[in-house]
Point group: C2
DNA sequence: CGAATGGTTCGACGGTTGTCGAACTATTGC
DNA sequence: GCAATAGTTCGACAACCGTCGAACCATTCG
């Protein structure tokens, strides 16, 4: 079984989180994950006109930056905003970014 | 006299602000401007190992993104974080970004 | 005026980013 | 086992980014 290791939050850098957020597609995806619950990746890209490979690239970017975690569920993957950990490390940041919607 | 027009805050996009913040040099500069007071550009890049042209590039990026305004003072330029306007448009964002220091 | 100071602009450059299609992996269900 | 489904990985590509030096512009000051 393939693994999708989450980034170690202790060494996540603000500038990298900001870079991950600084893209229209990823910002949109993060917006869909606002409530902190896990969603199938397929659902997250509905309405966004992306190829599978491009979507996969953005999911990887989000995960590696520390913004999301991936939960493998059979052949579908759920993705979840790491809300609690992010709020602890960067208080107010996610809330401020999500307010815009 | 050369002009340095500030971006129209009404049409500043969150994603562009995030992009401007998503660079170590610019994040550092913004950190120095935290109190919202104007500072000479020269002071902002002290300690950062940058050429004049690179510094100028980052200042332009910050200004065009809407993060800063430039005030020409003789042959020196003061730069100022547009704190109030940013707080109104993106509540909590700047505070969250600056907390990290 | 002429020299020094503080910045900008331009062109070039290498590295990174976002996108794609094609091939591949893994899991489900018939 | 086999086909379908959900997603990843790889290589290629164009566009963009951050950096630099050189030339330039504007202002102060002797």
């Amino acid at each position: 079984m393939t693994e999708f290791p989450s980034a170690d939050m202790a060494q996540v850098e603000l500038v990298d989180v900001l870079r991950a957020l600084a893209d229209p597609v990823r910002l949109q995806i993060v917006g869909m994950l606002a409530d902190g619950k896990p969603y199938p990746k397929g659902d997250c890209t509905m309405g966004l006109d992306l190829t599978k490979s491009t979507a996969s690239y953005h999911f990887r970017t989000l995960r590696e930056s520390g913004l999301t975690r991936t939960i493998v569920h059979g052949r579908t993957h759920d993705i979840q905003l790491r809300r609690d950990e992010l709020d602890e490390k960067f208080p107010g940041l996610i809330e401020a970014v999500l307010r815009e919607k």
